[in-house]
């Protein structure tokens, strides 16, 4: 077992992990932050996306010991200080960008990383950026729309419904 220490959602945490313990398992099992999900074993689905030192990372593809000393942000830390939904989360609710909710934490974390890099992405840029996040419920329409809305773009012009 190896001791790891990191900051998760602004809070210092530590734990003893095996070398093979994945960051996602450390978050879910040791820290009980179960908002980060596991949807595949091959780094494709993106349900486990968190931010490590400000970058979007698939936490199923990183060992917990690799995050030693890092700043980690998960879905549990995304809401505003008063507990209200942040801009991206609110846009997902407003535009029905989620159904079963399982891929949603990863989608929100990826969207946050995208908007940090590219504050007003085009539809095509959003769709391309989400290549590593799979949703089976929404057909992506409302996810793309929500991210455009979160970036301040007018989404009323998007296809009639």
């Amino acid at each position: 077992m190896t001791k790891v220490t990191m900051t998760v959602n602004g809070k210092a945490v530590s734990g003893d992990v095996e070398g093979r313990t994945l960051l996602v398992d450390f978050l879910r099992s040791d820290l009980r932050l179960t908002g980060t999900h596991v949807g595949c074993d091959t780094s494709q689905c993106g349900a486990c996306v968190v931010h490590v030192d400000g970058k979007a990372v698939k936490s199923c593809t990183m060992f917990a010991i690799e995050a030693d000393g890092a700043e980690v942000a998960t879905i549990e830390g995304q809401a505003n200080a008063d507990g209200s939904l942040n801009v991206i989360q609110q846009a997902f609710q407003d535009h029905h960008g989620l159904q079963c909710g399982f891929c949603t934490p990863g989608m929100v974390m990826s969207a946050a990383a995208l908007l940090k890099e590219n504050p007003t992405p085009s539809e095509a840029e959003i769709r391309e950026y989400l290549e590593g996040n799979i949703c089976r419920c929404t057909g992506y329409h409302n996810i793309v729309k929500a991210i455009m809305a979160a970036s301040g773009q007018d989404v009323e012009v998007i296809a009639a419904e």
């Binding site: 095996e18 093979r20 879910r28 099992s29 009980r32 932050l33 179960t34 908002g35 980060t36 999900h37 596991v38 949807g39 595949c40 074993d41 091959t42 494709q44 689905c45 349900a47 998960t74 879905i75 549990e76 995304q78 809401a79 939904l85 989360q89 997902f92 609710q93 407003d94 029905h96 989620l98 159904q99 079963c100 909710g101 399982f102 891929c103 949603t104 934490p105 929100v108 539809e123 095509a124 769709r127 391309e128 989400l130 290549e131 996040n133 799979i134 949703c135 089976r136 419920c137 929404t138 057909g139 992506y140 329409h141 409302n142 996810i143 793309v144 729309k145 296809a159 009639a160 419904e161």
Partner: protein, 788 residues
Amino acid sequence: MPKDTGIGASTKRREDVRFLTGRGKYTDDIQTYGECAAVFARSTVANGVIKSIDTSAAAAMPGVLAVFTGEDFADVGGNPAGWLINSRNGEPMKEPKRPVLAHGKVRHVGDAYAAVIAETVQQARDAVEAITVDIEELPALINMKDALAADHYVHDEIGTNQCFDWGWIEDNRAATDEAIRNAHHVTTLELVNNRLVPNAMEPRCSIGHYNPGTDEYMLHTTSQNPHLTRLLISAFVMGIPENKLTVIAPDVGGGFGSKIYHYGEEALVLAAAKKLGRSVKWTAERTESFLTDAHGRDHVTKIELALDADGKFLAFRTETLANVGAYLSNFSTATPTFLHGTLMAGNYTVPLVYVNVKAVFTNTAPVDAYRGAGRPEATYSIERVIDKAARELGMDPIALRRKNFVKPDQYPFTSAAGLEYDSGNYDALMDQMEKIADVAGFAERRKASEAKGLLRGFGVNAYIEACGIAPSNLVGVLGSRVGLYDAATVRVNATGNLSVMVGAHSHGQGHETVFPQVVAEMLGIDPQSIDIVHGDTSKIPFGMGTYGSRSLAVCGSAVVRATEKIIAKAKKIAAHMLEAADTDIELKDGVFSVAGTDKSVSFGEVALKAYIPHNFPLEDLEPGLEETAFYDPANFTYPSGAYCCEVEVDPETGKVRVDRMTAVDDFGNVINPMVVTGQVHGGLGQGIGQALVESTTYDENGQLLSASYMDYTMPRADDLPFYTVDHSKGNPCTHNPLGVKGCGEAGAIGSPPTVVNAVIDALQSGGMNVTHIDMPMTPHRVWSAMQG
């Protein structure tokens, strides 16, 4: 301003807040004190005899608590098929036992033959590696035609690989043959409805718990219908008394059919929990999901359409091979028969339909209902052959469909396949589709595509489906071994808020928001004071769950009936409080008043009074305010639609891009338009996925080559367009109290033929005489077809 609560409002979903903040509670998120882990040993061969299993080394591994093999379950029951199909010759279908763990033989790659329980999942996984198994591999039966011709069997004890040979409507067989023989024109098409993996993003997960003090079991599991799971485990598999077993499905991360069924892993964790006196959790890895979740579709069909000289349809005749896989999953026998054959008249006045379905056992994962379940297969066959006929006859594909549509004055309409459609207006849907899709502007868009060196195609499609899966009377006649009603309890608490217990179980559909909209509208109260309770057999009277687009049409109707009873009782209480006759009490905006007077009491006052019944005339009026209703509808509901899409095909690579996709649906009345639109979007995504990218591929040895997201193409955001969706032209269902039709599966039913029709149109426009390409229309398949 559009209203923001009640019936017809696009109320934002309350459940979203917990999902968006990481506070959802899915099965795998539950951690119980003393919990241990189960991992399964799964067959790596498709067909083989288990000669021996040596678990001694595994049992001695660190942390290992128990090892189970098929031998441990030899004396318990099998997981049954829920629907009895009789063959044309009157013989019942073949029903080989589906054991908890494979015993004697393994029948598909992924078939579990042992399970290890250990302190941690890593220890259990390591121990599974230490199990020594000797399996004598037999030739795999993968292709359905080969399986029917083979002289060895997936299940030796039944002596055939044919589950049944079903005819519908058998009495019409000779007349249909005659009509086809004598027709002016017959269009024939052979097609494959490709096997799909449902791929709910949440992998299956089950946790078994046992309380030795009370001999009670509890199962947390990823289920679309916990009551059915309890019933199957109790009555068929484990023999646990129903009142000693609680099944809880907390938040469920998608299902699409795959979580309707009971699976052996659920029985295993319960047995292990009892043996060890500890909670036992199993969570599927994604590859396990690919190997063992029930798959969908997998039909091979020949369809013939007979037409007269004017283009009137005279008969549809189909011959289908339907893969049921290695074992019968719970509804696997209903899907290719009564959810498929009965829809084979489509939206049309065709007088004759004959459907033959042979269901075939193969050494592949079980196949069962997946979003649409039988109706996508029916729609695909019908709408593809109509498109081909239009091309052969030189007719416009929209005009040919319109010529044969059931007309609005013909309802109720009994189709040639035996269903009674209650309402619809297919021409009006087509009108709306032509308008909002700007069909008239297609020619200009085609020119623009051609200027870029791309072929542009237009595809159109009409569909009808039967959903709101119910009426017990009807499904009973058709072979169902269960009733298909649903139940709801409305509990008004003393402080005036409500708990509504429903038998439907949301796994993404938004029930927590939508059902309160209905109750709030009826009572005239704030929907925020109403909470839905679902997914827990200990809290809900009964329920048949969520699938077949049935939640609102069936369970929502039960909610209406229970709320009507609440209103009747509350009026009696109000009458007592106001010293009036209950027939004089009116309910409006949450206030009970005596008609024609200013005497009134609020809903909250009535609720409180119900639980503080001072001076109640107890012989006439019981305390309390709680009512239950079971609702069993008179018929299915029949949503219908007109869909079109435009694709661009790159002639250099065969790559297809869906540029525009329009869905116009008749869902009857709509409670929450935002949620309904979202349901259509999701179905369209899955339908386009089926048409273009999704392929479930077994090699000749039965290895699933597409068993991960590196190999099975899931539609990504950049594979799909924005959709145009319209459900403004609804014709209310005539037989349920809300006038609603199911909307959950429509998108997946209507879209695959639309896309294929468009691709064929694109290739034809490029001068290539391609009349059919099987799904998924990958670049390789399209390019190959273009080479002739």
